[in-house]
């Protein structure tokens, strides 16, 4: 007997499931669905799934069936049913978009995955490299526009940079020059790629700070091995260093190792101590206005200033970006606030000059005092961070300590535009489960471009994270992106495009039009979540 074409039946079954699910998902909450209908639907899928040896599907339906009953007479509200059937919705999505081999062969990237930045205006090359590197389990951010890319480099601080020499507007050498000072202090492997592979070009690249040079056309196997080596060295380097190169104070790794000791000391001696998170105000403006070189200088000066003003028993660490952690042993909450207020005042008086222009910089601080045994280092940092956020929210250049009070979070609009109800449902659920500090996500979904563009929300002057399907029937995603970018509030948007794997033209268009990132469909849900989380964290 021939049963070669089992695929055909599997596809039909999932097709039917998808249709039924879509029909239910589209319903408004004023309508209801009888339990009997749900039971029969699940029941018949289960039988067929078993015959087609779709074990995963059978297990899901079996479990769901336990909570439905042909005779119950119960009526489901669509939103309840959506939650109830979520596993089935997700499974259907995964079946439709991945074959089993692909799921197994593809490593899932987590938040610890190395971040690689590629700057290349040759979009097909960029896509090829991104695919190749992401297959290895690494996360890749890409940008075709050199100016945007340089900013992205400073903001995201990748673990490795891949840079094409021939770029429009600003070539690879100029970018190397721009990030030169930053690079002297940070170990970030930089790999130049170029079609121009002569000795002169190679020497120039190395002299300017490149760590590797790869000629085009790229040999894929060699490229991957080289990347593995670079990332490995980066990892070893990061693990061996305890001093932040740029600011010459302890780094986060040191803090992570040292902090628990203060808590142990407290348990033993009962001697309270304070933790403060301090953060330079409007640091992005400094970077934008005076350039990243000046920004880096301000950071280093700031760290050294604090270091010079504290006791030898106090500890200052760079926590990340323009954020530092200060630990003040044997210091009460009042004393800590007093000390920091003094520091803020003194630092604000300091004058910086750049090309004859003078400017001053302020900072804000959040304080938490450890006064009981039950608080963990993580909680203490979160409390201090919450207070810092409050200090920022209520005017900056000040210190706040709001032990045991809750902060008001900032709201970020997050909108999803996709014509596929299954994808909308999955994305909404993924977004709802995201935990981003200091951000309340206001999530909305739209089934086409016009209904989003005509919404009041689209015109709000508020941070807006937009997840946009590239291909939609009513208005193409590219057109939606174009319209968003033409709006007077374009700067408030961060756009993540969902594109087809093979649609190079669309990716090229999206990136040129100013999309901040793209993800090819089908996407892995966990992975997309991690990516969104990373992008959102940068938006605060």
């Amino acid at each position: 007997m021939k049963l070669v074409h089992m695929e055909k039946y599997k596809n039909s079954l999932f097709g039917n499931i998808k249709n039924k699910l879509s029909e239910w998902l589209e319903l408004e909450d004023v309508q209801t669905i009888p339990d009997q209908e749900v039971f029969r639907f699940l029941h018949s899928i289960k039988g067929t799934a078993g015959t087609l040896q779709l074990c995963g599907l059978m297990a899901i339906t079996e479990q769901l069936l336990e909570e439905t009953d042909e005779e119950s007479g119960r009526l489901w509200i669509p939103s309840e049913l959506r939650n109830f059937l979520f596993d089935l919705i997700e499974h259907t999505y995964e079946y439709e978009h991945f074959d089993e081999v692909e799921i197994k062969g593809k490593p899932v990237r987590d938040s610890q995955a190395p971040l690689i930045q590629i700057i290349d205006d040759d979009i097909s090359m960029l896509i090829l490299l991104k695919d190749l590197l992401e297959e290895q389990g690494w996360m890749v951010i890409t940008n075709a526009d050199p100016v945007k890319a340089t900013n992205q480099y400073f903001e995201m601080q990748p673990d490795c940079l891949i840079l094409d020499i021939q770029l429009p507007a600003k070539d690879g050498f100029q970018i190397l020059q721009d990030i030169h000072l930053h690079n002297e202090k940070y170990f970030i492997p930089k790999i130049m790629i170029s079609i121009q592979n002569d000795k002169h070009t190679r020497i120039k690249a190395f002299k300017m700070g490149a760590d590797d040079f790869i000629g085009k056309p790229i040999d894929v196997d060699e490229f991957i091995v080289k990347m593995e080596r670079h990332l490995q060295r980066k990892r070893i380097f990061d693990q061996s260093v305890l001093i932040d190169e740029m600011t010459q104070v302890y780094n986060r790794r040191f803090l992570d190792e040292t902090l628990p000791r203060y808590f142990n000391d407290y348990k033993r001696s009962g001697q309270h101590f304070s933790i403060s998170i301090i953060d330079i105000d409007h640091f992005k403006r400094v970077n934008d206005r005076y350039g990243h070189v000046v920004g880096d200088f301000v950071l280093a000066e700031f760290a050294q200033f604090i270091k010079g003003q504290i006791r030898s028993s106090d500890l200052i660490c760079r926590y990340g970006g323009e954020e530092f952690v200060l630990i003040l042993p044997d210091t009460s909450n009042e004393q800590a606030k007093h000390k920091l207020t003094g520091l803020i005042k003194a630092f604000s008086a300091k004058e910086f000059t750049h090309e004859g222009q003078s400017f001053s910089v302020t900072f804000s601080a959040g304080v938490f005092t450890v006064e009981n045994e039950h608080v963990t280092p993580k909680e203490a940092l979160e409390e201090a961070d919450t207070s810092l956020y409050e200090a920022k929210r209520t005017g900056r250049a000040k210190v706040e300590s709001m032990q045991r009070t809750r902060s008001t979070k900032k709201t970020l609009n997050v909108s999803v535009i996709d014509d596929d109800i299954i994808i909308r449902t999955i994305l909404t659920k993924a977004l709802r489960s995201l935990q981003v500090p200091h951000l309340d996500l206001d999530i909305a979904v739209y089934e086409d471009g016009p209904s989003f563009l005509n919404s009041d929300r689209a015109r709000e002057e508020l941070g807006h994270f937009l997840i946009l399907d590239g291909v939609m029937p009513i208005m193409d995603g590219i057109e939606v992106l174009q319209k968003v970018k033409q709006g007077s509030n374009a700067d408030y948007y961060t756009v993540l495009m969902l594109t087809g794997r093979k649609s190079t033209d669309d990716i090229a268009k999206a990136l040129t039009l100013g999309a901040d990132d793209y993800v090819t469909k089908p996407f892995n849900i966990m992975e997309l979540k991690t990516r969104i989380e990373r992008l959102l964290t940068k938006l605060i």
Binding site: M1, K2, L3, N16, S44, K46, G47, T51
Partner: protein, 127 residues
Amino acid sequence: MKRILLAEDEEVLRMLVVDTLEDEAYEVDEAADGLEAVQLLNSRTYDLVILDYMMPGYTGLEIIEKIQSSEIKAQGKILMLSAKSQQFEQERILEAGADYFMAKPFSPLKLIEKIEVILHEAESIHY
């Protein structure tokens, strides 16, 4: 050529079984629910009737009742498919008048084997 009726409301399963049976050179009619099945059963006689237990229109059991009460033409053998695989359910189905029972989910290969045995038995009784 042996003639079979398949009454099964799940479209994909019906597709699969019909294709499989046709590959084995049986002549197959299909019904998507109990009503269609009754119509077909009234118009011709089958060597084998495969009935799903749970269908809209009439259930498999209701159709068997109709055959037994001569409301529908007499038929050859009856094979009932059901996800209710407990012993007492099986017995109930067989007592109600089905000749054979097959638990869902089944492998298409097993179904073919079973059908071959059923039709072969039917022949040997005839002659």
